[in-house]
Symmetry: C2
């Protein structure tokens, strides 16, 4: 008899993990609070499109799914910056043609992963099952079937909580003591809005870009969908800022605001007012905790262990990387869950902390810096260095997005590079004044200080 | 009809707050999970004696209780350091005769406060009532009477959660979203032990001191009790250290360990082995959260809002200071709870964060630095500066302990002073080489940089 793993949460992490486990011959029972999204339309309006990149693609490749998943994705080659004036400019993500990110809808991706998981006879999904807690001693997990009101207890050889940033499994660990935990909200809310496809089904604005309307303390972004529409997200302080969400109370407030600060987007948003008032306001949350497991009985993975803000486009990529490393550890430790769980936390914690911090920092970059002269020069300088010192110099963005270096390394090296380059670019007025050799020497010196 | 306040938790904060509120004419219903400690012996073994100092005394003075409470306390004039060699040395807390801290048992203090609170006919205690949650919208608090098993709902004009570091009220706020929260455990456990009174009822070791056995990564402390005994507490890593609690498994382990590293204490501890194995292992936890209130419906106060580690002897003093400032805000805002709660958080948060950080830092000082040459010189240098620059120079310890400066100010100024003095003392070999005027000039320069 093969071992049975209880997975709590059939989101992106849980569904991919089920595939990894099933390939190793484990039985997987996966319990999900929501109904089956393949049968029922689940309320959207709080999703933010996803940007699939190297780490995520690599984890999908291991289970033979990358090619299939990427068929539904739209390449985004760089940031398209929209100033108020309307004179857009394009900031490429890389000088390499094959280095871009891929816009994909959460729903499409999740459905694909569920379908793939269900192809294994050993994987069973239980929808509408809300986890109400678990016994950390014996590993029993408790659920209520919300379609019938019945309660049930699931027992397997171990439990893995992939139940997201508001994890019920984690709440159980929080109550049990000796569990380090923090949840930190930004003073920002977000609203999902839309730019629909044009009447002939085409894209109303540039298709292969991540669009940003950077406005200092707030911003809007737009990501393309395969159907020709764009998912837009407005990020804005709740309170305490010159411009904030609490000021947008009436239809007139909303229309005036968008006409004033994003006139070029506004003209493509016929359902702006309805979207704004019908869609819920999302919040931006970072969750850190440790240890992620209780003996061999339960492990947190994905957002349940490390929820991050979306500004580096790494939430899903990081979660998929979790699955990949977890699978690697099964090579080393078989089904010794206590060992695997301990090693998994020790391997991943430093890196998930790093991407959490990088994601918060990137918010400042997106909403403010991308519009500033020094930053634009720095991006140009990075492109020059990446070309002249190919293999040696990799920008922070590229280390995170197009490489699989540990996030903690990307953070340390990347911050150092950014500091050196921002200093240099603060002193020059055009990119012609940039001295790549001198910059590279300074960067190498700083790297050495890091001991890397 | 006067307003009714529901207090959850009749510990030190809840009991003193009840007195403050009753004096203003409010009705107070105070619900406590434990039985009435005045009637039932409540299991001890996890208390740590308290050190009452200026902030706490000041808050008691406002309600006319300081003198009475201090009758049960024992002055501790300084730290008595016990090296392995047995050659003890005394480090006074101050050069002022009236600057000392007061050892008092948690139980005695709590009983006194309950007795005083109950003298007000408008204060009612409900013991054995465990809070199971509350409705943050309407302010109803839910309890189970553990003596009968009955559940009940308490409703008043507002709720104040003084239910300690594992607050049930705070858990409700944590579940509700948009609540910043962190709990951080040190990798340390603690064991309460005892040095009993001598056969004639006297103190076996120096009465008027806080005793420390500093051993680098771990330490024991002992505080005097009025009955002639000392409450000792061993603080030691759980794991991952040359010496840790997990190594002390058998009676022989414990006896050998104490004989080896604290021989002078060991000889006064006839019940060492029983105490060690009968008493539970406590954990050291810092809790930070914000906001502390939900509209005017509920407020967290005391450890529920800001639990800290015990190494600055400020946990209770900080909680009593909470009560004092809360009372001051009622002068300004009457019974406008939403305003009072908002102002209270804004006033206190920075300071409770500061004492939390200071308390963690002081652990290193107590277990390690007090035994080191530079640190001993620094203490001597501080005494010289406090004398020669009376009124201008106040040591960090004194700012926190003998003054009522905001904790955040004490932290900023204190860290600056410590840095300057430790640098100077690292370069001299005896206190005769210390140049007070030069040191003071450097300190003043650093203060100026702080903008204070």
């Amino acid at each position: 008899m093969s071992q049975k793993i209880i997975i709590v949460g059939a989101g992106l992490t849980g569904s991919l993990l089920a595939i990894y486990l099933a390939r190793r011959g484990f039985q997987v029972d996966i319990y999900e609070r929501r109904p089956d999204m393949r049968k029922v339309a689940i309320s959207a309006g709080k999703s933010i499109n996803l940007a699939l990149s190297t780490r995520g693609i690599h984890a999908l490749e291991q289970v033979g799914l990358a090619e299939k998943i990427l068929q539904d994705a739209i390449p985004m080659k760089g940031r398209l910056i929209h100033p108020i004036s309307g004179n857009t400019s394009f900031q490429p993500y890389s000088i390499q043609a094959n280095e871009y990110i891929n816009s994909i809808s959460r729903r499409t991706l999740n459905v694909n992963l569920m379908d793939e998981a269900e192809k294994f006879p050993s994987v069973k999904f239980f929808f509408n099952h809300r986890c109400t807690g678990m016994n950390l001693e014996n590993g029993a997990a408790y659920f209520i079937d919300e379609s019938t009101g019945n309660t049930l207890t699931a027992s397997g050889d171990t439990v893995i909580g992939t139940d997201g940033s508001a994890s019920a499994i984690r709440m159980e660990m929080l109550k049990s003591g000796f569990f380090n935990f923090s949840q930190t909200y930004e003073n920002y809310g977000y609203k999902e809005l839309t730019i629909p496809a044009s009447s002939n089904g085409g894209f109303r604005i540039e298709k292969n870009a991540l669009h940003i309307w950077p406005r200092g303390s707030y911003m809007m972004i737009a990501l393309p969908n395969a159907e020709g529409d764009f998912t837009c997200t407005l990020f804005m302080p709740h309170h305490q800022s010159e411009r904030n969400l609490s000021q947008l109370k009436t239809e007139q407030d909303v229309v005036r605001f968008f006409q004033e600060v994003m006139p070029d987007a506004c003209q493509h948003m016929p359902t702006l007012v309805e979207d704004f008032f019908n869609n819920p306001t999302g919040n931006l949350l970072t969750v850190k905790c440790f240890p992620w497991h209780v003996k061999g009985k339960v492990l947190l993975m994905g957002d349940a262990a490390h929820a991050i803000v979306p500004f580096f486009g790494q939430g899903m990529n990081c979660c998929f990387e979790d699955c990949y490393y977890f699978d690697q550890l099964m090579d080393d430790f078989g089904d010794d869950w206590a060992q695997i769980f301990e090693a998994f936390g020790n391997l991943r914690k430093e890196n998930t902390d790093a991407i959490a911090d990088l994601a918060v920092e990137n918010f400042v970059e997106m909403r403010d810096l991308v519009a500033q002269k020094d930053f634009i020069l720095k991006k140009q300088a990075e492109a020059i260095l990446e070309e002249q010192y190919a293999g040696a110099f990799i920008s922070k963005y590229a280390m995170v997005t197009f490489h699989r270096l540990p996030y903690a390394t990307a953070l340390k090296r990347g911050r150092t590079q950014d500091k050196v380059l921002m200093e240099i670019c603060g002193k020059i007025s055009t990119i012609e004044d940039f001295n790549p050799a001198a910059a590279m020497e300074k960067i190498r010196m700083e790297w050495e200080k890091l001991g890397q």
